[in-house]
Amino acid sequence: MGTATVKKIEQTAGEVHRTILKRQKPRLRFPLRSLSNVKYDPKRGHFEMRGRKKERTLTVSTVKTFAQTLRMMALSKELVAQDDIATKREAYYVSKNWGEARFLEQPESDAVMDDVEALFEVNREQIGFVPEEKGGEVSGKLSIIDRDSETRKPLRIDCTRFGSGAYSIPISVEHLKFQTEAAFILVIETAGMFQRLVKHKYWKTANCVLVSMGGVPTRACRRFIRRLADFKKIPVYVFVDGDPYGISNIYRTLKVGSGNAAHLNEYFCVPQARYLGVTPQDIVDYKLPTHPLKDVDIKRARDAIKNDPFFQHHRAWVDAVEHLLKMGVRAEQQALAKWGLNYVIDTYLPEKLKQPEKFLP
């Protein structure tokens, strides 16, 4: 992988070099990173790029970004060649050595980094950059085979033995191997709900692996779930808040990937994921306490059924979102506590899991 990336970087830089010597203006072609440039492929189960590209020609007005992109590529090559990593923040600080070409704020360097990532159609870990973000937590009937960073010997981690704690998903998960007899993976939005299920060893009762996403899942978290589910061919059930954010941001990103890094969705998605709850129908069936939808919620929900190719593809989802909009309310996972703190363990989840075919796609 490392050498391939280095080759790609050298190839691109070589092309720029040759063009300059021909006294022409070099240009770089980037895939357009936005929801308008993705399509949903139900067979493959993830967002794919439509192939629209933006071209950046080196002119007086683009010379700064162009120089920054090339210097970022040089940094990347150095990282990969030396098998080192830099966080986004660190890369931003490295640029402070670049004189006039330095970044003034981190979002500028993040954008250039995303461009480089998309340019080579790799993920940023492959070009030596890692995110700050935490990857998610795991608990349950699962053993993970990692390797020791010094000795390179296999290292076995038993996810049932973290007590009241949990295993943290590392930033890179490609090298991990798994051993498990679990029947399914239950992916949970909030740390609070995860805590409750871990505390009562719900994984033991239900024979499953519990994963906490802590909001929108990171790439590493998505990749981890995907590899685990693929490896044992077990289903993935998702349990999030019954609101537009839980549905269209968290669940959608987990299942089919994001619009921003569509070139990577092939790896960073979990097409087998199914939506357990909280569904709009649950709000009715379980008489859940609710809050009114805010303007941003309404906008997000409308946007989902109007512009998001994933929701548009599934009639059931359009109906569900419209149902939610019609009620004008949202309900959190923890609203089930209204019926007793362990109602979720004793009643809600068992009832739901009896009919997995009814889960939303």
Binding site: I20, Q24, T59, V60, K64, L70, A74, K77
Partner: protein
């Protein structure tokens, strides 16, 4: 100086206001009335005749002030009138009398620009300087004007204006300075600053009124002749000069005139100040040398920029398109032409034998008729026929522009700026009067960038300081879209920017909105020409600003190239392992490629 007049236009004789004309017109006629009455010495008869149908209106204006006439003579059943003795035509008749024009203006001095102390000082200066410039030019002398203002006490100043003009013959001095509506320019249709014969006498009258001191005049007509010194007061009841002193004096000048008066006033700096007026006058009169000693602050001295006198404006006959019915009637009555056709030819400009016949034919009047024999209906038919006949524009030789080069030179002397331009429009015509617009501007430099622009208005080279918002020049400037030329501009406002805008309207007869001559009236033709002039200088400003913008962009481009291309070299060296020479080649080649490219 010689006769300096002001006010009613030469053509007033011919161009009488129609019934229902505005009040301003009424006053105009009234002045004319008194002027001719006084000059002819035959009061009632002469006065009544030319006044015609406008007379009642004219008299109506001053009546309440001059004569305490009862408001209502007879009002049957009116309670107010019940206990009072009623006036009869006879009793009223006893009190009806002529009103002196001097008395009239003493009571209505705001009409002449003496309505507040600051303005009074400015107006008095302006009247004296206008006269000096006119007199010198008419005599073919390059003007040298000295203005001095001395503070005598708080709110009391001594103004003196000295010129090198032809001087005034001894016998005329008292009337020139001591009688309103006495002048040389009134009956001539020719471009000049003064028109009416009021200004300097009115200034003297104001001085006399506020300080009680007479106007002092020193004048000499030639080196071999003695200089005369006069002290003159105006008898306002009679509109006649009263000579207090008349003696010969030693004077260091071969010819010229000096006027000195003490008057109440306020001296200030900034806009609408005497300082501004003098500076702008110098700007509009590049052939004049101007010295000015203000009561405080630095002396102003501007040598003339050219030794060429402005071409002498020719007097012209009126153009038929501008004539009014009353004026036409008077003209036909007094013409020397024996037939209607020859009368039209000789009394109007641009009327050939053919044109005269055409007018007569269109009016259905016999061209061979005796002019004096035409009845009212026929004259009116003639009047209505004039617009239907195509007549050449009046001769432009009667107006004299300052000239683009001298405006430019003057602006450079007056304002420190980055860009100057000026434009003189070809002559045009409003209501039969030829006129011409000149525009100039100075941009940038030390001028304030965040304020409304400074608009300097001139009429026949005289700076207009007051009533900016009532002026056609302002209207034209506001309705021009300066955003096209790179300035900011609010709706219905002057643009904002570091700009001085110079506009001169030259004409044989500049239409002012009032006798104090502070604002040019908004005739559509004048507005149109003004806008064309402003657009012309505006376009050049726009071109300059765009050019400057391009230079700034090119500079930015250069600095961008210099800052960032080396980083492309570094990055390629790092990735591809280039040698230092190869890296330098990348930088050099790419720099050349980008500098050649035109796209930013």
């Amino acid at each position: 100086m010689e006769k300096r007049g002001r006010a009613v236009k030469a053509a007033a004789q011919r161009r009488r206001p129609k019934p229902g004309a505005k009040r301003v017109k009424g006053k105009v006629v009234q002045m004319e009335l008194f002027r001719s009455a006084a000059a002819a010495g035959a009061a009632a008869e002469a006065a009544a005749a030319p006044a015609g149908d406008a007379a009642p209106e004219a008299v109506a204006a001053p009546a309440p002030a001059a004569v305490k006439a009862p408001t209502v003579a007879a009002r049957p059943g009116g309670k107010a009138a019940a206990g009072r003795r009623r006036e009869t035509a006879e009793s009223l008749g006893k009190r009806q009398r002529e009103i002196s024009v001097a008395e009239f203006f003493q009571k209505n001095r705001h009409l002449l620009g003496f309505d507040n102390p600051a303005k009074a000082l400015l107006t008095a200066t302006k009247e004296a300087v206008d006269n000096s410039l006119d007199a010198s030019e008419e005599a073919g002398l390059l003007p040298e004007i000295e203005v001095a203002i001395e503070e005598l006490a708080e709110d009391r100043f001594r103004l003196s204006v000295t010129d090198n003009g032809p001087g005034i013959v001894r016998g005329q001095i008292p009337r020139v300075f001591g009688k309103l509506l006495y002048g040389s320019k009134f009956h001539v249709l020719r471009q000049s600053r003064g028109q009416q014969g009021i200004g300097i006498s009115a200034a003297g009258m104001y001085a006399q009124l506020t300080t009680g001191r007479p106007v002092r005049i020193t004048s000499r007509t030639a080196a071999k002749k003695p200089a005369h010194f006069f002290e003159i007061q105006i008898d306002t009841a009679k509109n006649e000069p009263k000579v207090l002193t008349d003696r010969e004096v030693e004077w260091d000048r071969d010819h010229g005139t000096r006027v000195e008066m003490d008057l109440a006033g306020t001296y200030k700096k900034g806009r609408r100040s005497v300082d501004d007026y003098v500076m702008q006058s110098a700007l509009a009169n590049p052939h004049a040398t101007v010295r000015y000693r203000p009561p405080k602050g630095d002396e102003f001295h501007r040598e003339r920029l050219t030794t060429g006198l402005p071409r002498e404006p020719q007097a012209i006959r009126p153009h038929p398109y501008g004539v009014e019915l009353g004026a036409l009637i008077a003209m036909l009555r007094s013409t020397r032409g024996r037939t209607l056709k020859s009368a039209l030819q000789s009394d109007f400009s641009r009327v050939s034998a053919n044109v005269a016949e055409e007018i007569c034919r269109a009016a259905g009047v016999n061209p061979e008729a005796r002019p004096k024999s035409l009845d009212g209906r026929q004259v009116e038919a003639l009047f209505r026929a004039i617009p239907k006949v195509k007549i050449m524009a009046p001769p432009a030789a009667s107006i004299v522009p300052i000239g683009e080069a001298l405006i430019l030179e003057g602006l450079k002397r007056a304002v420190k700026a980055d860009f100057y331009t000026s434009a003189t429009r070809p002559p045009a015509v409003y209501r039969g009067n030829p006129f011409l617009v000149e525009a100039g501007l100075a941009y940038g430099g030390d001028l304030p960038a965040e304020e409304l622009i400074d608009l300097w208005r001139f009429a026949n080279r005289v700076p207009l300081q007051y009533q900016q918002s009532a002026c056609a020049v302002t209207r034209a400037a506001i309705t021009t879209d300066w955003r096209n030329y790179g300035l900011q501009q609010g709706k219905g406002a002057l643009p904002i920017g570091p700009l001085v805008l110079f506009v001169n309207v030259a004409s044989v007869w500049v239409p002012f909105t009032s006798e104090s001559k502070e604002a040019v009236a908004s005739y559509p033709e004048i507005i149109h020409e003004l806008r064309l002039g402003l657009q012309e200088v505006g376009r050049r400003l726009g071109a300059f600003l765009r050019h400057r913008q391009r230079l700034a962009e090119a500079e930015k481009k250069r600095s961008y190239i210099e800052s960032y291309i080396p980083h492309i070299g570094i990055a390629l060296r790092e990735i591809l392992g280039l040698s230092e020479a190869e890296e330098q080649k990348v930088v050099k080649t790419l720099t050349e490629t980008l500098e050649k490219s035109r796209t930013p």
